[in-house]
């Protein structure tokens, strides 16, 4: 029994060591890229644009998934998950900017129409 206990403990220790080792192997540049894109989307106000908010949420989920894959030692899936997270965050940023540009353009168009009416 004691031998079995030692074997089980050794197995947990090896597994934990392996897990820590894979978590640390997530590519820092891609991790930083993903986190930076998520932060940028959040700061730009992605939460106030429904489509952008959705992709921001997806980006965060993908980042969590990447970490999970890394924890499981699946670096390939982890890297892809980071790329997906970055893509969703970048899309959220693009949607926020497009929405802001559209709103600004609509405002200018309204001002233009008012001015046209007033100058007729």
């Amino acid at each position: 029994v004691e031998a079995e206990m030692k074997l089980l403990l050794a197995t947990f220790l090896v597994a934990g060591a392996l897990a820590c080792a894979t978590a640390e192997t997530l590519p820092p540049d891609r991790l930083a890229s993903s986190e930076g894109a998520i932060r940028a989307a959040d700061e730009l106000g992605a939460q106030s644009v429904p489509a952008a908010a959705l992709h921001l949420r997806l980006a965060e989920d993908e980042l969590s998934a990447a970490k999970a894959f890394a924890d499981k030692g699946d670096l390939s899936r982890a890297e892809l998950a980071l790329v997906k997270s970055t893509a969703d965050a970048d899309l959220a940023v693009a949607l926020v900017r497009a929405d802001a540009a559209r709103a600004s353009a609509d405002k200018s168009a309204a001002e233009m129409e008012n001015l046209e009416r007033s100058t007729r």
Binding site: H55, S76, R77, L80, A81, V83, K84, A87, D88, D90, L91, A94, L95, R97, A98, A101, R102, S104, A105, S108, A109, E111, M112, L115, E116, S118, T119
Partner: protein, 322 residues
């Protein structure tokens, strides 16, 4: 080894005939949309999407419907969507720039219209100001003319009143003169009944008989003389501006000296009475002439009676009494 080769061929054949996963199909469709919408306005993003889709296709070629294929298709689709979003962003910017340009043009036009309107208003105000000034000048001129007219009217009224007064005064004076002349004529006619009246170079000479005026050797007036002298006084008062001289005369009876004294006393008696009757004192004088200047012969009674007389000489105007 032979068996492994057969398995590889079988797997490859299976991949070649495997239907692409839904994610890859959706990525391709989205990329197709992006190719239409973002080719001009987001070429870089579209290029990223294309590369991502190539990766997905390559993975599918390698692995068929593996999770990696789905992940790469997912990434490709997101990048295509990014390209589309970027294209919409650029289009919105262009639309905003176009609106802004139109706003600037309209603003410039409005500003020009406003400037023109203000210029027109300023000119209108200036013109109105000129008109007002002209109206003020005309009103001032009208007021001045009205004042002059009022003054002229008042002056005319005053002149009219003065003329009327003058005419009335003239008429009164003429009437008074006519009355005086009438009274004088009447008086003289009355006087002529008692004494003679003659026009001579020295003036109007009224001769009163000494018998009517005085008792012999006396110089006190008789009652009959007073009546005659009342008429004379009335006539003389009617023309008070003339100088009067009362001259006393005697006949040649007695000494010349006594006759002179007597004639002087009688002339003075007549003068005093006439003054009492209202003839101005400063206009009447008296002097005794004695037996000088006889009007008849002293040889007869009748002649001496005529020589005893008093002559009242009414001088022409502006001649002082002697």
């Amino acid at each position: 080894m032979k068996t492994a080769l057969v398995l590889a061929v079988l797997v490859g054949a299976a991949c070649a005939t495997t239907k692409p996963p839904q994610a890859l199909l959706q990525a391709r469709a989205t990329y197709a949309d992006a190719s239409v919408q973002a080719a001009a306005s987001a070429p870089a993003e579209l290029r990223d999407a294309e590369l991502a889709l190539d990766d997905a296709d390559a993975a599918f070629q390698r692995e068929g419907g593996s999770p990696e294929v789905r992940d790469r298709a997912y990434i490709a689709e997101r990048k295509a969507e990014i390209a589309i979003a970027k294209a919409r962003y650029v289009d919105a910017q262009k639309r905003e720039q176009a609106s802004d340009a139109r706003i600037r043009a309209l603003s410039a036009t409005a500003a020009e219209q406003l400037r023109t309107t203000r210029e027109a208003e300023r000119e209108a105000r200036e013109e109105h100001s000129v008109d007002e000034e002209r109206v003020r000048d005309l009103e001032q001129r009208a007021a001045q003319l009205q004042a002059e007219l009022d003054q002229q009217k008042q002056a005319n009224e005053e002149r009219g009143e003065a003329l009327e007064n003058t005419q009335e005064q003239l008429q009164n004076e003429q009437q008074a003169r006519r009355d005086v002349e009438q009274r004088l004529t009447t008086t003289l006619e009355g006087i002529r009944d008692l004494q003679s009246v003659q026009e001579e170079p020295r003036g109007l000479v009224i001769t009163l008989s000494g018998q009517v005026l005085f008792a012999s050797g006396k110089f006190d007036l008789l009652p009959a003389a007073r009546t005659a002298l009342d008429n004379v006084a009335a006539a003389l008062k009617a023309d008070p501006d003339r100088s009067i001289t009362v001259e006393g005369y005697t006949d040649s009876q007695g000494s010349p000296a006594s006759n002179l004294v007597l004639s002087q006393a009688r002339a003075e008696s007549v003068r005093r009475y006439l003054i009492e009757r209202g003839v101005p004192e400063d206009k009447i004088g008296a002097r005794g002439m004695g037996e000088d200047n006889p009007v008849a012969s002293n040889d007869s009674i009748e002649g001496r009676a005529n020589n005893r007389r008093v002559e009242i000489v009414v001088a022409p105007k502006n001649v002082e009494p002697r």
